[in-house]
Structures are given as structure tokens and as C-alpha cells.
């Protein structure tokens, strides 16, 4: 068998094997994702039906927080303390001062931006 015939056979075998393996992975990943999602959803439904009373308890506290936010648009003291601690952790000994704390006006959520930064950091 000459080299070109062997090369054509390898070309066909290569196409076939790569696509078959990856299509198999598509099927398996799709299937197990569906199974896991349905199992986890079932688990969540059970939780909500079994413990309806526990969910009601935190309502007053949440309501107070919401009221505080809506009343004067101020950020709660605890949140400011956490932000200040985070700023301090980054700047450390360098002199720094927090003048204002404002919500950033980007279209993407902080988690989405963190995810994108994590994935695009060069290896």
C-alpha cells in the first residue's frame, strides 16, 4: 500500500474517530446533565414542601433591610464595613481613603465579570 492510500485511509479514520468520540461525549454529557438537573430539582421541590414554616421566619428582618434601602437609598453599615475591609486587604499599608460607595453601572453582574476574568487570565 503506497503512502497516499495510507494517508487517505488515515484521513477518513481520523474524521470518523474524532467525530464519533466527541459526538459520544455530547450525548453522554447531555444525558447526565439532564439526569442531575432533574434529580436536583426534585430534591429542591421536596425541601420547599416539607419546610414551609422555616421560610417565613426571616421575613421581618428582610423587610426591615428592604425598607431601609428604599427609605433613604443608603447602603447598610455592615456592607460598607465589608467593602472597607476588602479595600484595606487590597491596598494594605498604602495610605488610602474611601470617599464614596456606589453601585457600579455595568450591564454584567459581578459574578459574570469574575467568571470572565477567571477564564481569560493568561496561563
Amino acid at each position: 500500500m503506497d503512502n497516499m492510500t495510507q494517508a487517505f485511509i488515515l484521513l477518513l479514520a481520523g474524521f470518523l474517530v474524532v467525530f464519533v468520540v466527541l459526538i459520544l461525549l455530547i450525548i453522554v454529557v447531555t444525558l447526565y446533565s439532564k439526569i442531575i438537573t432533574s434529580v436536583q430539582n426534585r430534591g429542591k421541590k421536596k425541601e420547599t414542601t416539607v419546610t414551609p414554616q422555616t421560610e417565613k421566619k426571616p421575613e421581618p428582618a428582610a423587610a426591615v433591610m428592604e425598607a431601609a434601602d428604599e427609605d433613604d437609598g443608603e447602603i447598610p453599615g455592615e456592607i460598607i464595613a465589608v467593602i472597607a475591609a476588602a479595600v484595606d486587604a487590597v491596598y494594605g499599608a498604602k495610605p488610602h481613603k474611601i470617599k464614596a460607595v456606589r453601585k457600579s453601572r455595568t450591564s454584567r453582574s459581578a459574578w459574570a465579570r469574575a467568571g470572565a476574568a477567571d477564564n481569560t487570565r493568561p496561563f
Binding site: 503512502n3 497516499m4 495510507q6 494517508a7 487517505f8 488515515l10 484521513l11 479514520a13 481520523g14 474524521f15 474517530v17 474524532v18 467525530f19 464519533v20 468520540v21 466527541l22 459526538i23 459520544l24 461525549l25 455530547i26 453522554v28 454529557v29 447531555t30 447526565y32 446533565s33 442531575i36 438537573t37 436536583q40 450591564s107 454584567r108 467568571g115 470572565a116 477567571d118 477564564n119 481569560t120 493568561p122 496561563f123
Partner: protein, 413 residues
Amino acid sequence: MEILTQLWKIICDLIASSGFGSLSLENYVMVLVSFVLMYLAIKKQFEPLLLLPIAFGMCLVNLFPEIMGVPTTTLETAQQLIDQGLNPESYAKTVIDGVTYYNHIEYGGLFYYLYQGVKLGIYPPLIFLGIGCMTDFGPLIANPKSFILGAAAQVGIFLTFIIATALGIFTPEEAGSIAIIGGADGPTAIFVTTKLAPQLLGPIAVAAYSYMALVPIIQPPIMRALTTKKERSVVMGQLRPVSKLERILFPIIVVVIVAVLLPDAAPLVGMLMLGNLFKESGVVDRINKTAQNELMNIITIFLGVTVGATASGKVFLTIQTLGIIALGLFAFCLATGCGVLFGKLMYLATGGKVNPLIGSAGVSAVPMAARISQKVGQEENPGNFLLMHAMGPNVAGVIGSAVAAGVLLSVLK
């Protein structure tokens, strides 16, 4: 007079043993090539983590070829050793026809020993371990159809193999090693070449890493040429969140399927998935950090300098090298084109829900290729965020090129 003659002889010997006497013109040309690569790595920041050690290894081996020297053992009699001022008792004995010989070992150069990790196929899987620790397969699990784009980009590998074979200047093993450059995956290219055509390791590694560094220049024109403005403007829906259990099961399932179907790809895919399991399991944080930082950095240094050290003047400055560089570029462009064309196919099949630009990310080169999809997409629509969608085919491309490597190895080895 006697003293002057002796002095002249010593000076002549020194000159003869120095670079001026022992190095050829090819060596000096290669030193200049290494300077160019160092400039590209330092000034232009072209894959500096690998290109810099490769360039320095190349420079060093051409100035001092013995650094890659192979160890030798000569059988000598006791008298011969004593004449050299050596003690025979410190050498192992070999008896032939009743005569006792001593094994006089000349040790190899530093890079010879470090190179064993490349030659025996140890470093590339260890690099994959580190890559696995850093890779987020979430976008791929959320959209498993991305696998098909990772497979499509590997078509370039096999088409290049045909062309390299048809040229007639390469053996099928060499053609396979050159074609794998299209996978845009340095460790995979090195892994395949050390097994199929170790003599071409230098040019192939340099070509593979150079093209990976040139992704932002090579890919965008091909992507623009093969797509319409409307296709490039497609905004894709948000990916669903992926649960921790799915992330943990993914590497285990992939390694079982790939290792059973294609055992030759098992070292690469196995280590990639082991690294990913370290990351996703969340219970071996220390190992995870070591694999993606210290271990990966150490291996990168060893891999870089020793791969560079295979590029000696005699091997590198040949017509074959020009062929490898041209075919490597061809393989890379073809892989990008095939990825985009499959992306177009998915665009049509889904009624315009898939942006074909994410197809070009199927050529591995993580995460640069995905960033290019994002960048070209944003040129048409600044509010379009394709990055996470492109990461799916991008990481699928890593698995795809390892599978393609497995096919080449199982057929050609």
C-alpha cells in the same frame, strides 16, 4: 624557545577547543535565529513563557553542542585507566573471553538528561495536568454541542497530513507530526512528534508555539472572510449555570470514554482530566495549587530549554524546516476555517442562534482563540459577549486535538 613553542601549542589548542574552532556557520546562524526569538518573546511578548526558554536553549546548544551530549561507555583495561590517572576499582567490570574490562562512563550534557522528560513523553502530560487545574469546563458542560466545533477544527490536522504526504519530502510519520501543529496545542504537538518523528522536534515545536502566539494575527482575517456581517452580529443566549456535581463527574466520564476508545490519547486526556478533578473536587486545594503553579512552571522551564536545544544548526537549517513552517501555517489556517465553517453550519441548523465566530475557538490555543472570537464579535456589536460561548469549543478543542493525536499515534506508530 622550547617555552614559546609550548605556549603557542597551548594557545592553538585553546582556540581549537573554543567556539571559534569547533562551531560551524550553521551554529552561528541559529544563534542569530535564537536572538530573534528572544526579541519576539521579550519585546513583543509572543508566548514568552515558552518562547524565551526555547530561544535560550537554542542559543546555548549552538554555542556549546556538548550540553546535549549523549553519555558513552567504553570498555578499557586496567592499564589504560591507570595511564589516564584513574583508579580501575571505582568502575564496574565486564569480562569478555576471560579478559577483564572496566566500564569507563563519559556522562552526557545537562540538557541530555533534562531532555529525557521530553523524549519519554513525561513533560507534555504533566503540562496537561496543570492546564486541567486551570480549565473551567463549565461552558462546555452547559452547551455540549460545542464539542462538535472542537472536532471540526481538527479536520485541518488530517487535511494537512494528506498534503504533507503528497509533497513526497516527508514520511507518513513526519507528515503526522507536522499536521498536529494544526491542533494549536504545544504539548500535544511535542508529545506526538517525540513518538513519531523525534528528529523534527525542534522545528515543529518552534512552529507550533509561534503560530499559537500569532493567533490574534492569523485568525481574524479568516473569520471575517468566511462570515457575513449578520452572522457575526448574532447575540447568543446566556449559558445555564452548571452544578458542582456535573463539574465533578465531567472529567471522570470523559477519561473513561476516551481511554477506552482511544488508549493512545489516555496520557494526555487522563492528566488533563486529573488536573480538572483536582480543581472541581475542591478537596485537594494544595495539590491543585502546586500542579498549576510550581509543577507547571518547573516543567515549562525544562520543556522549553530542552525543546530549544533540539534545534541545532544541522537539523534546523534545512529545506524541511521551511516546509514544516509553511505546512504548519496551512494546518492552522485550515483548522480555523473548518471551525468557522462548522459554526456556520450550526448557525443554519439552529436558525441563527449560534454565532459562527465561536467555531474558530475550536483550535485549542486556550484562552487566546476564545478571546479572538470575543474581539471579532464585538467589532460588529460592542454589546455582544461571546467569550463564555467560545470557551466551550476552546476547551473542546483541547480534548479534540488530544483525540486526533491518539488517532495519529495508533495508526502511524
